[in-house]
Structure formats: C-alpha cells, structure tokens
Assembly symmetry: C2
Homo-oligomer: 209 residues x 2
DNA sequence: TGTACATCAGTGAACGCGCGTTCACTGATGTAC
DNA sequence: TGTACATCAGTGAACGCGCGTTCACTGATGTAC
C-alpha cells in the first residue's frame, strides 16, 4: 500500500474546520480542559503553529468548539421535536412539544457530557444571545412555550419566567444524571426524566391560574 | 518591627490543615482546576514537597478540599433552616423547612461558585454517601422531606423520588444563576429562587395525590 | 500563453513557563535507659 | 536529670513533561501584465 499512499498536500484546504472537529473530539472525551491546541494540530497532522493562521488564540478555538456544541444540543432538541406526532388535540400537542425539547436537552447532556460541559463552560453572557442563523436551544424552548401560549395554556407574559424555570430544571436534572446521580439503567434514567418533565408541566399549569 | 518578627518554626504544626485551607482559598477563586499543589505550598510558606508528608497525591488534596466544600454547603443549608420560626401550623412549618434547605443550597452556590464547582466536580459516586459525622446536604434534604411525611404531606415511599427531583431542580437553578442567567440584581435572583421553590412545592403536592 | 511576484498557508526549531513529583538531605522532636 | 538515637517534618535542587506561543523560514497559489 505504501506506494499508493496519496501524499498529503502542502495546503490542507480546510484546516480551520479540521481543527475545530479535532477539538470537538477532544472535548467529547475530556471536556473543556481537554481542548488542547497542540493535540488538535497533532491529530490533524499539522504543526502546532499552523493553527495560528486560523485562530489568534487557543481561546478562539475553544469558542468555536463551544459553538458547535451548542448547535449539536439544539439539534438534539429538534430531533426530539421531529418525533412528535400530532394527536388532533392542539393542547396535548403543545405539551408534548415542550416535553420533547426538554427530553432532547437531557438526552444530549447524558450522551455527550464533554460537549455539554464545553457549551456551558464558555458561555459568555446568556444563551439567549444568538447562535444564528439556526435557532439555538433557548430559541427552541421559547418556540415551544409560544406553542403553549397559542394553545391558550400559558399567559403570554409568563413566557420568560416559564422559560427560565423550565431551563433550570432540565439543566439541573442533566447535571444530576451526569454526576451525583449517575443511574445504572437507561430505563431508570428515562423514568427520572419523564418525572421531571411532569413536574415542569404541573408547575406551569399552576402558575397559569 | 523586623526584630520582633517571630521566626517561623521548622515544624509547621498543622501543615495538613493549612494546605487544605490554602486549597479552599484557591478553589474559591478559580474552581477545581485552580487547586494547585505548588501554589498551596507557596501560600503556606512551605516547600512544595513538604505537602507529600501529608498527601500522597495532588488528588488527595483536592478530595480534602471537596470535603470541606461539601461541609460548607451543608452549613449554608442548616443556617437557613435555623432561621425558620415555628408558625404553630406543623404543615406550614414543614414546607418552610424544605424551602429553607433549597434556599441555603442556592445561596451557597451563588456565593461560592468555585467551592460549589469543586464539590460537584470531584464527587465520586453520589452525595448520599456520607460526609460523616455531620449530615451532608443530601441528609439534610431527606430530613426536611421526612418532615413533610411526618406532617402527612408526603407519602413515605415518595421520599426518594421527591429528593431527586427537588435536588435536581435546585441544582439546576444554581448553575443557571451562575452561568447562562447571571442576574443583575440580588432581588431578581431571590425572586427566581422563590419561584423555583414554589414550583417544587406544587410538584410535590401534585405527586402526593 | 507565459512569466514576475505578492500573498497565503504551511514547516521546524525553539522559548519560557508552571506543573507534579522525586532525590538526598537536615533540623526538630520524643522516647528509652 | 542527662544523653543516644530513631523518627518525624521539613528543605533545596532538580527531573521531565506538555503546554501555548513566537521566530524565521519555505512551498504553493493566484493575479497583473
């Protein structure tokens, strides 16, 4: 095979993206601290300083990885939303869609703890700020809550408060499942998730009255 | 003054504790990663290797710092409990005491983000495992829930589920307040805390029926 | 169509840094007789 | 009460490591004429 090895061209062609991908891989395994510039370069097969053509700083690479992590989190939420089948009852559907966003959030956290940590480690300011053009996790949650409003299940001026409570609950559950309450079985985990989503629901119903 | 400076004795006398305290201080400022053996030794005024008389490892120092962090968290919860004044109504009091534990938890997280991070970074297994002889955060929460049971407000076999939901909610709120939703005013923060505690209450009331 | 040359994207070697940890040591302490 | 000596708790110097970053450089690319 050695004769047919295509020699790597001098110019990589897409080094910036390749480095970010390597960074994502590192983050998946070891969280934010594992994003190491030299190691990313090593994996891409490039000298460490080549990275400086594309990032002024290590922190810029980390930011780029965090952005991808956020996008993947949003994707997990929309994936779960896509599984929702209309029931014919608009109110039931609205609740289901809210649950789906939460479920997607927690599933991502459990499946990708490293990326999850990166997303919330390097968040400067709040996630409401855009990760445009695709709506980020916050936007997706707000959309789901607007769905409740449209179905007459939530007062329009309760959306912000509802969002922050729902987010914090789901975020907390995620960290609990990753850390102090690592569950042995996936089934037990799903039970905890659904129980927590129940609680969010009853909380929101209550605050409506 | 220089003549009256008492020369530091060759033997420190309490180096282990001094190093842990230095580690706590480092953790307060920079979280788990800031616990650096050489720096701790530097602050105590001792050579780096002296630490190895008291810890086999850096990780052993980190563990000791985490233990202190856990104790301080528990303290914050009991402090808040101590503020509860009996109202004459056992049911109201039981709710108030549960709220107090949650409030103490979140207050600690907001006041000491670095220590809070250490506590949950290095948690091996779950926090239910003892930090004896004083009851840890988990024990304090369980106690408060047993209070609800005693007041006839919670089914005895719901305690575990209630504990994990309550914990995850309060934990999530803490992280949210530290990160994505850093609040400008203390008042706004307290409002969010109380709103979340409300939600935990309605959630538990619901699951009782 | 060809050639000069600016620009871009890499290389290789080296830097200084702070870290955890180990080595051989020395000063202080406490116990046995 | 004094002295020998084991033990304990420190010191000072050094190690190897991997890191982020900088330097002067070279190979490839694209544009002007």
């Amino acid at each position: 095979v050695s004769t047919t090895v295509r020699p790597r061209p001098y110019h990589h062609g897409d080094l910036r993206n390749a480095l970010i991908s390597a960074g994502v891989e590192l983050a998946r395994q070891g969280g934010p601290a594992a994003i190491v510039l030299r190691e990313a370069a090593r994996r891409v097969g490039v000298s460490p300083n080549a990275a400086y053509r594309h990032f002024t700083d290590l922190s810029e690479l980390v930011d780029a990885v965090a952005e991808r992590a956020f996008a993947t989190l949003a994707e997990s939420m929309t994936d779960e939303l896509a599984k929702c089948r209309p029931s014919g009852d608009a109110q039931i559907d609205a609740w289901q869609r809210l649950r789906a966003t939460g479920r997607g959030y927690v599933h991502f956290a459990v499946a990708e703890p490293g990326l999850f940590a990166v997303a919330f480690d390097s968040t400067e300011g709040d996630p409401r700020a855009g990760h445009e053009p695709v709506p980020g996790p916050w936007g997706i949650l707000i959309d789901a809550l607007q769905g409740l409003v449209a179905a007459g299940l939530l007062a329009p001026d309760s959306v912000d408060a509802a969002a922050s409570t729902a987010w914090s609950t789901v975020h907390g559950l995620s960290l609990l499942l990753l850390g102090p309450m690592r569950q042995p079985s996936a089934a037990a985990r799903e039970r905890m998730i659904e129980a927590t989503l129940d609680m969010i629901g009853t909380g929101l119903r209550q605050s409506r009255g």
